[in-house]
Symmetry: C2
Subunit: 352 residues, 2 copies
């Protein structure tokens, strides 16, 4: 079983997931390989359902059978999960250290049966199904009160950590709240307690007034190049109306979100030559009662604001950031916003 | 001039350094290129001194001339500095945001005239000169009271962010303390206030007792695979005796440190096929009085413990960590420690 270990110096949890039981020599450095398009051997392609663990959920054609072909979208556990649903949390100390068992969930959402469809090129109605499944999986996993947070993220391209190119998203549900999220919760709470306003709403309002870092906007959403972007062409999508929780979106809002996500990813693809990228949904932790923690944040509906962070992984950019938490960004967010804003969406972009 | 911008959500400073004035299209994604060994055109090789900014410091042969050949080690400003020494800090607000001018220093330490000498293969007496220059540069920059921290780091290999392969270290001196360091200072202080003991000493003592994660040890230093390592084969070198400040090492200690650094990097090179890596020196911020901040931490001599963090950048490992601050490590630190401990140092390894 994998373990969650706490670093007493950085106050950070790390998953030590050694289930693949690699030998030390498997880690030897190799030059990166170009990923090939092995459709026949792709475990995420239609017809290869037996190469994945049994499905948890799928959108299927009428009459098709579970774990067989005839699907539009499939969800199943990761074959090499970092965390598993079985077992106790097992919180314990080890001298000065803290640890617990690797209890949680690690799932794969295969977004489409099309082996090489970029999310920026998906029909909006299909992408709406994908982002709706994010919502339903977060809600479903939240019924397990051992879990405190479900992190939905996508790695696109080998450099961004995707080991398979077939379009897929992953989610990891954990018994802790990831540090980046808890820092955002802390900052939001501090601002709310001082001003009785949402920090994120204040930022959105200032950006709407300044108009220097807006990449794209619709009636419901705004896409920003964050003021203190760590990486060139970093993007953040916020709902314009205050909402702390991704899963509160209704069908119409999910459709609008699919439109803005498609437009943003299309702009990045065209502007930067299909860069590898990661995106992560930042939403509130589960607020229903959890053992040992009655309610995360009593102010929560007011002081957090869900959003999605998109980070292109441009190979010319790398450095000492891993070791310091301190970033050097060689592209100004204003330049990035202007450049991405000017990428035109082709006629009929949102048509089906 | 570049800018330091503060992210009010993550409470993190970012350097926006756009002096290279790249165009947006310069950021387009390209497949990584293999670095070639262009000795003739290498600006860090002997004879090409005119290709670098004028030197700040050098160890030179008697009779050789500044900015000419005949050196063993050279320090000069980075040609494309993220920060510059000239100008005022210029702290200011921009609505909800905070920013200041990019005042600081960004220097390059060319470690040797040998274009392709791995630090793990350097003679100890030479490496001792390199690590002594780290000390003297930190001390020299600390005389500028606008600066609060000098970060010394090395990128080895293109994947780790080195744009030139000739062995070199960089330093960035800033008007802020990097977040990773301030988190460590906070944790150390909290532990000291609770227990009147150094957190890092407690960790070292526990690791010496458990003997599960020790990679290498000498009378003066210990090399650990940290309990909650974020990356496979992460290493940390600590002085065994409590000391908060790298620059307090005397000549004998610097020599000992060079030995243990050489041994550690050699082990990584042999075990992992010369992986790209980063290292960062974690030492106390300047404690002499600074304007606006009389003294960083009154408890500082007792509650911080300098160390060096070494992170191999293995290309199979990547992921969603950038967006979450949450790490999945597929190699257990115990396995990594055992494997590296077992890499034998060849006979005469420390001989000159």
């Amino acid at each position: 079983m994998s373990e969650l270990r706490h670093d007493p110096i950085q106050k950070r949890w790390v998953i030590i997931a050694t289930e693949r039981s690699r030998r030390p020599t498997d880690f030897r450095h190799e030059e990166p390989q170009k990923q090939l398009s092995h459709v026949e051997s792709c475990p995420f392609c239609e017809g290869n359902e037996d190469k994945t663990p049994p499905e948890i959920f799928a959108i299927r054609e009428p009459g098709s059978r579970k774990n067989g072909p005839g699907w539009e979208l499939r969800v199943f556990p990761n074959k090499f999960p970092a965390l598993r649903v079985e077992g106790d949390i097992g919180r314990r100390g080890l001298g000065i250290y803290d640890m617990m068992n690797g209890v949680g969930a690690h799932e794969v959402i295969v977004e489409t049966k099309n082996h090489s469809l970029h999310m920026g090129d998906m029909p909006v109605s299909h992408l709406k199904k994908v982002v709706s499944v994010y919502k339903s999986r977060i809600l479903d996993l939240g019924r397990d009160t051992r879990l405190r947070y479900t992190l939905v993220f996508k790695n696109h391209g080998a450099v961004a950590g995707a080991s398979l190119m077939h379009p897929h998203t992953q989610l990891i549900a954990t018994s802790i709240t990831p540090r980046t999220i808890s820092q955002e919760l802390d900052s939001g709470k501090e601002h709310f307690l001082a001003k009785e306003r949402c920090l994120f709403c204040d930022i959105i309002n200032q950006e709407l007034a300044l108009k220097e870092r807006i990449i794209y906007e619709t009636r419901e959403f705004i896409v920003l190049a964050p003021f203190a972007s760590r990486f060139p062409f970093e993007c953040a999508i916020y709902p314009r109306r205050h909402s702390h929780d991704y899963t509160l979106m209704n069908d119409a809002e999910l459709y609008e979100f699919a439109r803005v996500l498609k437009a943003t990813l299309y702009k990045l693809k065209v502007a930067l030559n299909d860069p590898p990228y990661n995106f992560v949904i930042h939403t509130a932790p589960y607020t229903t009662p959890r053992p040992g923690k009655e309610h995360y944040w009593k102010t929560l509906p007011y002081d957090y604001h869900w959003h999605i962070e998109i980070i292109p992984r441009l190979t010319r950019v790398a450095g000492f950031e891993w070791g310091t938490g301190f970033y050097i960004n060689t592209a100004s967010p204003e330049m990035a916003a202007e450049f991405l804003q000017n990428v035109e969406l082709p006629e009929g972009f949102f048509d089906e």
